[in-house]
Amino acid sequence: MLTDELQNAARDLGEALRASSSVQAYLKAEAGCEADPEASELEKRLLALHQELLGRQQRGEALQRSEIGAYNVLKDRVHYNPRIQERDAALSEVKQTFTAIADELSFPLGIKFASLAKAGNV
């Protein structure tokens, strides 16, 4: 159970991060991506195809070369979509900001906050 003080401190950090230029740029790019029918459709198709091929492979089925080729073509289309590229570039900036801030948070503790928090989420 988190104390009120701890909850407030976590909220303060969240608010400060949300106000940062990198998070603002990412949220804008993400919204742009979701609002773009082509970008969101491409991502949905890629995810569905990835899950389908992976499932079949795990069941021991050998995939056709043409199926893998079609998957790679779709993956490239997703990768080179301008909206998706913009969002992914913005996410890279966010990761840099978050990593620096997590280092700051970890400093008094002497251990990596993010690693333990991720382990606690499993």
Binding site: G14, A19, E104, S106, A114
Partner: protein, 133 residues
């Protein structure tokens, strides 16, 4: 309010986030979960039996890596040593303390992520190769 004071620059925001992060870190440092964790970590690091078994595990792992002959025998011995290590009270207490700390940090991370609108811990880990993504 004049123009100069009403503009929040990127540097000011980062300073605010740095300050908030440092304050949160200080608060976490004094939580009962983290204090128990540090105590348990210290106990494990100073336990002679843990040190000896860990050294043996390390030797076996190295042997397995460099000379894979008799690997099933070595693997069985490795499993036995790991089980022995996990059976030591100091290690068991450390595991419990670590779990409690991880849960606490995950709860804190959840609040930060919710406020930010982007998952925090997931995106805060350095990649090993120095490349993005």
């Amino acid at each position: 309010m004049n123009l100069q004071t009403s503009i929040t620059t990127s540097a000011e925001i980062n300073t605010a986030a740095n300050q908030a992060a440092r304050e949160l870190g200080e608060l976490l440092l004094h939580t009962p979960e983290y204090e128990v964790f540090l105590k348990a970590l210290n106990a494990v690091n100073n336990d002679l039996e843990v040190k000896n078994i860990s050294a043996e595990i390390h030797t076996h792992q190295n042997t397995l890596r460099w000379s894979p002959t008799n690997s099933s025998e070595l693997e069985a011995e490795l499993t036995r040593l790991e089980t022995e290590l996990e059976g030591i009270q100091a290690v068991q207490e450390y595991r419990l303390a670590e779990e409690a700390t991880c849960r606490l940090f995950a709860e804190v991370d959840s609040i930060i992520s919710q406020e930010t609108g982007v998952p925090f811990a997931t995106n805060a880990k350095r990649s090993g190769c120095g490349c993005s993504g």
